[in-house]
């Protein structure tokens, strides 16, 4: 094969790969359906098939949502997609409600920010948060009890503010969104000028962004050396765990269940524990927290030394893109530190 033919073959392979990738349904099912549902009816993510959402969200809004996500609010940024792939997903999302969505200009709406702030506090803050931080938890998950069928979005969020033009925010305030708790403010008695004031206030969040709590810590692990032999160290972990009001779930060797009974490596011991009240809080914030479960500290002996280690919950937390969960992980980090410190004294 000549060099030119080889280069051409590679190009063809690349082109074929990209052409296949631009299949909106396949891309949606692979990347979006886990959260938003195969039929767009929502789940961990919001229900994209909701007619009022379909008509009020512009294609440009959807494109930006996919591309940039919502920092700290679960929806990840799909930076690896090509423009063609993003367009293909948007077209697929649109098939649930054929028709023309609104198109918005990028024109800013002028309003009285001070008055908008007052109205926001009276009419929006109870759902969207006093500082625009949004409702708690993820989207519609009826398998667990939820207070609302949809979680109010964080308005003070770079992802939202960059994607939603003023006109779209205004249209949502004017018309409400059927099928969600978002009511029409016109029907609630507000005037168009009042709505402009709220829009101006929401836009002013750009100048006062909420602190982004999600930072990747340098340390993936918590690890400390124990001053005691392994057996005593495991006992100390158990005491520390119970002392912190956790329920001891199980103590086992790392390869227990993978080898015949009696042939396990007895120099590597896992202590599993759980606080079900804390777990219940965490599941309400993000049902994907199974990756943390159950809480675990591992003690092992290597080269005559005994170490106690665990994953760093703050490092794990960053993969969920969920500020609320991150705050719980900060609590969990401190708990792990206390337990491991106490056990290694």
């Amino acid at each position: 094969m000549s060099l030119t033919r080889f280069i051409l073959s590679l190009f063809l392979l690349l082109t074929a790969s990209l052409a296949q990738a631009a299949d909106g349904q396949r891309l949606y099912e692979q990347n979006c359906a886990a959260c938003h549902g195969l039929d767009g009816n929502g789940g961990v993510g919001v229900p994209l098939a909701l007619p009022d959402f379909q008509y009020s969200a512009s294609d440009d809004f959807l494109r930006k949502m996919i591309r940039h996500g919502r920092p700290g609010r679960v929806m990840p940024a799909f930076k690896r997609f090509s423009d063609e792939e993003v367009d293909a997903i948007v077209r697929y999302i649109r098939h649930w409600a054929p028709g023309k969505p609104f198109k918005y200009s990028s024109k800013r709406i002028r309003g009285d920010v001070k008055h908008g702030k007052q109205l926001y506090a009276q009419r929006c803050a109870s759902c969207h948060g006093a500082n625009g931080e949004g409702g708690k938890g993820t989207g519609v998950t009826f398998s667990r009890p939820r207070n609302l069928p949809i979680i109010p979005p964080a308005l003070n969020n770079k992802g939202f503010l960059d994607a939603a033009p003023d006109e779209m925010i205004k249209a949502t305030l004017m018309n409400g969104r059927e099928g969600t708790p978002m009511v029409s403010f016109l029907k609630q008695g507000l005037k168009e000028k009042d709505i402009n004031d709220i829009v101006a206030y929401v836009r002013s969040f750009e100048k006062h962004p909420l602190p982004l709590t999600l930072k990747v810590p340098e340390e993936r692990l918590i690890i400390m050396e124990s001053m005691q032999p392994l057996k005593e160290t495991v006992e100390a972990i158990k005491r520390a765990v119970v002392g912190k009001n956790y329920r001891l779930i199980r103590v086992q060797y790392i390869n227990q269940g993978l080898v015949e009974k009696g042939r396990e490596n007895k120099k590597q011991v896992i202590v599993y524990f759980c606080n079900f009240s804390f777990l219940n809080r965490a599941l309400a914030v993000d049902p994907r927290v199974g990756l943390f479960l159950p809480c675990r500290v591992t003690a092992y002996e290597k080269d005559g030394k005994v170490f106690v280690t665990s994953t760093n919950p703050l490092y794990m937390s960053t993969i969920f893109n969920n500020n609320e969960l991150h705050r719980l992980c900060q609590e969990m980090y401190q708990e792990y530190m206390d337990i491991i410190e106490e056990a290694t004294l």
Binding site: L291, L293, P294
Partner: protein, 152 residues
């Protein structure tokens, strides 16, 4: 000169191709249209077929219910290959807290969701031999998740 230019072109294309086809996800998550009991069976069968042993299934929902909390079906499945675990835990202790690997599986109405972390997140330039395991696990997890997503 022409050959050098062509080599550069080939390298660029190979790089582009690689960049298109490989990436590290933060979370690997799929929705199965199977109900929870069906998906749970299928997951265990698939993990076994891939040559892994399931070491334990943590019944999170049972613990929650016993403590008085409302929940749907929620389990965590732990699995591994003993030879890999032995080598990893003896040579690369920084991976100890992550093994055996786990997949969280939980019901969402009539569907089932499965979540696992991307092993490539644990890549470490200093340990290329350990990285080989992580690449293999990623490949296997992608296959498991794909089978689960397509299961009817």
């Amino acid at each position: 000169m022409k050959i050098i230019a062509n080599n550069r072109l080939i390298s660029a294309i190979v790089f582009m191709l690689f960049a298109t086809l490989s990436y590290a996800d933060e979370l690997m998550m799929i929705r199965s249209e199977q109900t929870f009991p069906e998906a749970m069976l299928k997951l265990q069968e698939t993990i076994n077929k891939m040559g892994y042993t399931i070491s334990r299934v943590q019944r999170v929902d049972i613990g929650l219910s016993k403590s008085g909390y409302l929940t749907d079906k929620y389990r965590v499945v732990f699995f591994g290959r003993n030879n890999e675990i032995e080598e990893i835990t003896s040579k690369y202790p920084y991976l100890i807290p992550y093994v055996p690997w786990k997949i969280a599986i939980f019901a969402e109405q009539e569907n089932t969701l499965l979540v696992t972390a991307d092993p490539l997140r644990l890549l470490d330039k200093k340990h290329p031999a350990a990285n080989r395991y992580l690449y293999q696990w990623k490949k296997d997890l992608e296959k498991i998740m794909h089978i689960m997503q397509k299961a009817e």
